[in-house]
């Protein structure tokens, strides 16, 4: 009964968001069969390119996924940024901040409250921080392969490449590249074992 109610609610919610995105952000390309549960915060600049694939699910509140989501899904793309999300991926309470380039593959499962940031947000030199010098902020592209499973509460930082089929443990902070077929966890993330 409740599942049916949520399904109908999500269909209406998704329809409203698709209409809103179509009118407000013409540079966002949405695939088929998108599902949005709860809120979705978008802040996308006109010069950026955002590609969202087919069969993608965004879940945003504790009542839509009981793993303990405490924030809505937020997607932000700055000027000249490129964000592309592959088909059949699922995101629960994920924050994506794209100022350079983020490529997410197919069949990616992102656990609750994951952050994906391809920028430092502030310059490293204190003088530049004082005067808010945007040109000195470091950023590097993030590439996440296919079939990657990212555990809840983890943070993926700039310049990281995660190989296909890799698994990232819950609560880990990734600042180095993760090879294919490996399980990494901890802060800073370390190699745990191979996926068998």
């Amino acid at each position: 009964m409740r599942a049916k109610y949520y399904r109908i609610k999500s269909i209406i919610n998704t329809f409203i968001y698709i209409c809103f995105i179509g009118l407000r952000y013409p540079n966002v390309i949405l695939g088929k069969n998108l599902k949005i549960f709860g809120k979705l915060y978008l802040s996308i600049q006109k010069t950026s390119v955002v590609n969202i694939g087919n069969n993608i699910i965004f879940r945003s509140a504790t009542k839509y996924n009981y793993v303990g989501i405490n924030k809505p899904v937020t997607i932000s793309a700055s000027n000249n940024a490129l964000l592309s999300i592959g088909d059949n991926s699922g995101f629960s309470g994920v924050s994506i901040y794209c100022s350079n380039k983020i490529l997410i593959g197919q069949y990616v499962n992102c656990g609750g409250n994951v952050f994906i940031w391809d920028t430092d947000f502030h310059p490293l030199e204190f003088e530049a921080r004082k005067f808010n010098d945007i040109t000195k902020i470091k950023s590097a592209p993030i590439i996440i392969g296919d079939d990657v499973f990212i555990g809840a509460n983890s943070i993926i930082l700039k310049g990281v490449t995660i190989g296909n089929r890799a698994i990232i443990g819950a609560g880990s902070v990734i600042s180095k590249d993760v090879p294919e077929d490996e399980i990494w966890a901890g802060n800073p993330a370390r190699f745990l074992r191979k996926c068998t």
């Binding site: 009542k63 009981y66 303990g68 405490n70 499973f149 089929r165």
Partner: protein, 197 residues
């Protein structure tokens, strides 16, 4: 004075509401005396489960705690799972997800935004993840002893046994067993000191 009374009355009504909601909807749940539910609480229990909640347990939504977290309590118990909560324990903004077994002892304190999961949610093999094969999801029981104090923002993952009187620091991630009378912190959680009484 007045506000204190107002909130007390509000909490009493809120607790009664949830207590009768659970009693009417889920016949398999046993709730002890004097439990307190403050703020919102999301519940999803399966009918074929065993759930025991002890006396004097406090469930507090994190938005009612001035800690800076805004998350309600959420408790999920899947089919054939078992959740036992001892007397006098307190939970703030905790997410509990039971697919096999979680046992929580007496006088336990759980800080804001803690999570207790006894499952991986998705299979380790990528083919299982693609096909949503639920039989391949790994899960192992979590057992937490008496008088355990878990710091805010920490996560307790599957297959962990925590001994009596242990303390877990804030923001730590536990996936190994913790012996009794020890303090563990960090990600992954490591031994810090012994507790000397």
């Amino acid at each position: 004075m007045f506000y204190g009374r107002y909130y007390n009355a509000k909490n009493v009504i809120n607790t009664l509401k949830y207590r009768y909601y659970i009693k009417l909807k889920y016949l398999n749940v046993e709730i002890g005396k004097n439990i307190k539910i403050i703020g919102r609480m999301f519940i999803s229990f399966h009918c074929d489960t065993k759930i025991n909640i002890g006396n004097n347990v406090v469930f507090r939504a994190a938005s009612h705690s001035d800690l800076g977290f805004y998350k309600p309590i959420s408790i999920t118990v899947l089919k054939n799972a078992e959740l036992l909560v001892g007397d006098n324990s307190g939970f703030t903004g905790t997410a509990i997800y039971v697919s096999k077994k979680i046992v929580i002892g007496k006088y336990c304190n759980f800080g804001g935004n803690t999570t207790i999961w006894d499952t991986d949610f998705h299979p380790v093999e990528f083919k299982g993840r693609r096909n949503h094969d639920e039989t391949k999801i790994k899960s192992a029981p979590v057992i937490i002893g008496d008088n355990v104090f878990v710091g805010a923002n920490s996560m307790i993952l599957k297959g962990v046994t925590i001994g009596d009187r242990a303390i877990i620091g804030a923001g730590s991630i536990v996936f190994k067993d913790i012996p009794a009378d020890e303090i563990w912190t960090g990600n992954p959680a490591k031994f810090l000191t012994k507790i000397v009484n």
